[in-house]
């Protein structure tokens, strides 16, 4: 109940936005290929539901696979990097530089490497995209530890492994969740956009471009909505997991603390 009341303004804004969109399209007589009305998109959505669900799931799997590979690799490399100071100092500038490069531009190359039809090519693009924010954030979380905490652990003769497990990893969790949130959003974007460069017929991005090419823009719109919903859901799932995993963190207790 409280939740609903809290989110009421957002809900009202959303509904009002849809109504305004519908109204403007009708009143200004906007051409369908420029901007279909929400009702038209909804119609396209329901009449293509089976196909949309199928291709939506196909692309979601690519995004999830890439997310898992990229985040997994990012965490592993971060653990190694944080362990060896030398690796940290040499790798981090590269990682930070790579993070600001438009990696999606490599999509055609990776399509070529792994095969356009192979979902693995999209997973690898997603993996490369999410790798850098994941790695950078995890390294930060593992190394930006209160030095007094390290002194305290050393005064108890704690091993490096004990310090990693009991201090560095818990300290890194909030940083990692921030990266997971970024990666969740990026992975769906990465998967869909890389499909624009060609891919399997049952992929969301391919469907969007093909329908657009044949002037069935309402179908493209419906598929875009699917991509948005999946991306949003992914993000929300991470948000919930974050809340459950690090209830002690300031970002969460402030939100929950009324």
């Amino acid at each position: 109940m409280n939740q609903i009341r809290q989110n009421l303004p957002a809900i009202i804004l959303f509904v009002a936005g849809l109504l305004l969109w519908e109204l403007l399209v009708v009143l200004l007589d906007i051409q369908r290929f420029l901007l279909p009305a929400p009702s038209v998109i909804w119609q396209a959505f329901t009449s293509n539901l089976d196909r949309l669900l199928h291709i939506g799931w196909f692309t979601t799997k690519e995004a999830l696979g890439g997310f898992a590979i990229g985040c997994g690799a990012g965490i592993l490399v971060a653990l190694a990097t944080a362990r060896w100071t030398l690796a940290n100092e040499t790798l981090m500038p590269f990682a930070i530089a790579a993070n600001s490069v438009p990696i999606i531009a490599f999509a055609p190359i990776l399509n070529n490497w792994f095969g356009v039809d192979n979902p693995l090519s999209k997973m690898m693009i997603v993996a490369v995209i999410v790798f850098f924010p994941m790695m950078i954030n995890t390294v930060r979380g593992l190394t930006l530890v209160d030095p007094t905490i390290i002194e305290l652990m050393r005064s108890y003769a704690a091993s490096d492994f004990a310090i990693l497990r009991k201090v560095r990893l818990p300290n890194a969790l909030p940083y990692m969740f921030n990266a997971f949130k970024v990666a969740a959003t990026l992975s769906m974007i990465g998967a869909v956009v890389s499909e624009y460069f060609g891919g399997n017929r049952s992929a969301l991005g391919v469907f969007i471009t093909q329908e657009a090419a044949q002037f069935r823009f309402q179908n493209s719109w419906a598929a875009i909505i699917v991509a948005c919903v999946v991306g949003l859901t992914f993000f929300l799932v991470i948000l919930v997991v974050e809340r459950l995993s690090i209830p002690w963190h300031s970002s969460i207790r402030n939100r929950a603390g009324q």
């Binding site: 209160d146 007094t148 905490i149 002194e151 305290l152 652990m153 050393r154 005064s155 108890y156 003769a157 704690a158 004990a162 009991k166 201090v167 818990p170 300290n171 969790l173 690090i246 002690w248 963190h249 300031s250 207790r253």
Partner: protein, 256 residues
């Protein structure tokens, strides 16, 4: 003096490699501490009090001189977990509840879970934090957090309690109450304490001896015996002797 738990001889500590930027933090420190003593280190800021505490706790290796703790090297003493440390900040782990924070040293020692819990509860009871076991650090006031950190330091019954301005961040009222509690804990546990402070009143109230250090390079200027009768209590703060010692220490600090 008979047996000693800490023996410092000719300790020197120089920071910085190249001769231009060197800081001589400690010079010629000689000190023997008997078991059960409560030693306060007092001196101007930057005179090397924290450095000396870290040298004793094997967090820093002195550039010259010898330290022995319990007849062992400080390194061995640290491996044997002879130390309990309390810093100015409580340094509680924000991801652990208060109970879990106090359990940490026991966990590192490999004590069975149920015994960890039991012991941590006892200690929280001693520092009057019963009922806050499942709270997170941020839910406690500064004074309460510092009590939890003292409980954690006492968890493994350390032979030597090293405290670096533990009450420096607390208000006067809380500080005085914490002094009383620390005195009780010290009496109950009979542990040896080395206590860094800026407050003369606190040093006189708590200590058996007060070590006054000089400004850089940090040297021992004078050691004041605090011959106020034990057990001490709030009434000790009103004794003539208390004021005499307080003034004497203040005089020495002026010379520092």
């Amino acid at each position: 003096m008979g047996e000693s738990i800490v023996t410092l001889s000719k300790i020197g500590m120089v920071f910085g490699g190249s001769s231009g930027s060197q800081t001589v933090a400690l010079q010629d420190i000689d000190l023997r501490i008997a078991p059960g003593e409560f030693i306060s280190l007092i001196g101007p800021s930057g005179c090397g009090k924290s450095t000396l505490l870290r040298v004793v706790g094997d967090l820093l290796t002195p550039t010259s001189g010898q330290v022995q703790v319990n007849g062992k090297s400080t390194h061995q003493a640290r491996l044997d977990q002879d130390y309990g440390m309390v810093f100015q900040a409580p340094v509680l782990f924000e991801w652990r509840t208060i109970l879990k924070n106090v359990m940490l040293p026991l966990e590192l020692r490999g004590v069975p879970q149920n015994q960890q819990r039991e012991r941590a509860r006892e200690l929280l009871n001693m520092v009057e934090l019963t009922g806050f076991e499942n709270h997170y650090p941020w839910q406690l006031s500064g004074g309460m957090q510092q009590r939890a950190s003292i409980a954690r330091a006492l968890a493994i019954q350390p032979k030597l309690l090293l405290m670096d301005e533990p009450f420096g961040a607390l208000d006067e009222m809380t500080r005085e109450r914490m002094n009383m509690e620390l005195l009780n804990i010290w009496r109950q546990t009979q542990t040896t304490v080395i206590f860094v402070t800026h407050s003369i009143a606190e040093a006189v109230f708590l200590s058996t001896r007060i070590v006054v250090m000089s400004a850089r390079p940090g040297r021992i200027l004078h050691i004041t015996d605090v011959d106020l009768p034990q057990p001490r209590g709030e009434q000790s703060r009103a004794e003539t002797r208390y004021f005499e010692i307080e003034n004497a220490v203040r005089e020495w600090l002026r010379k520092a």
